[in-house]
């Protein structure tokens, strides 16, 4: 009896799976701007939203960055405005260090709001407790 010859699709499935895996790892890194190390506050109830956003980072040593590009506080509004021009409904994430004063974060929040941001979120990390 003649043996049936099948196409071996297992290697293709493996390559496909590996590609999916790599995409899953790389995609959030490309969409978010979290390269600057900041010790963000911990919270139990946090919503995870992996979408393209404008990230305003405020470090413990009072450095201000928009999408990982360092700027002066005076440049904040122009930098955020130019980003919001592309999409006014883009999410603005405030990544502030847990050790900074709240009044500084509020100042940033107020300036971002003045730029016309409609969706603002404070970055947190899931609490392990």
């Amino acid at each position: 009896m003649k043996r049936m010859q099948n196409i071996n699709i297992l290697p293709m499935a493996c390559v496909g799976l590996m590609l999916v895996l790599m995409m899953m790892v790389i995609a959030p890194l490309l969409m978010t701007h979290t390269q600057t190390p900041v010790d963000v506050p911990r919270a139990h109830t946090a919503e995870t939203k992996t979408e393209e956003n404008i990230t305003v980072t405020y470090t413990i040593d009072s450095r201000l960055l928009v999408n990982d590009v360092e700027i002066s506080p005076e440049q904040l509004m122009s930098a955020v405005s130019s980003e919001l021009e592309k999409d006014p409904y883009q999410l603005v994430v405030i990544r502030a260090d847990k050790g900074v004063l709240h009044r500084d974060v509020l100042e940033i929040l107020a300036n971002v709001k003045k730029c016309g941001a409609k969706r603002i979120a404070c970055a947190t990390k899931k609490s392990e407790e």
């Binding site: 071996n8 297992l10 290697p11 499935a13 493996c14 799976l17 590996m18 999916v20 895996l21 899953m24 790892v25 959030p28 978010t32 979290t34 963000v40 506050p41 911990r42 919270a43 139990h44 109830t45 946090a46 919503e47 995870t48 939203k49 992996t50 994430v93 990544r95 502030a96 260090d97 847990k98 050790g99 900074v100 004063l101 709240h102 009044r103 974060v105 509020l106 929040l109 107020a110 971002v112 709001k113 941001a117 969706r119 603002i120 979120a121 404070c122 970055a123 947190t124 990390k125 899931k126 609490s127």
Partner: protein, 137 residues
Amino acid sequence: MRRRRRLRFYSQPDGLILNSLVDIALALVIGFIVSIPLFFESGIFVNAPSVAEGGASDVSDIKVNIHLLDDGGILLNEEFVTYEKLNELLPKLLARSIERKVIISTESNVQYQRVINILDLAKQYGAGELALLRIRK
């Protein structure tokens, strides 16, 4: 005769057995799906400070105003409370509120982590809207 048959059965090479590899790859994919949200930062949505024109409302709602003091004290609707007491009162107040709005204000030297802790607590007890107040300069 019997031995020869068995030998033939075992010596037929049918290509590489990749089933176990696929299994491991699938397990890795599932592992990544589960663990990725743990590695990435999440967030709490807030209302940025703004001044809106105040209009009179016919329905009076129970307000949840939390004021944080520099020395670690907490004022809930202008009354001193401890963190434990706030834990106890906040769900009761929110349950009776229609809008479930929590307004948080602070003194000038309050740390950001403390505010996030209160925001987190309010969110845990079902706050619908979180607002941060700022004193106008």
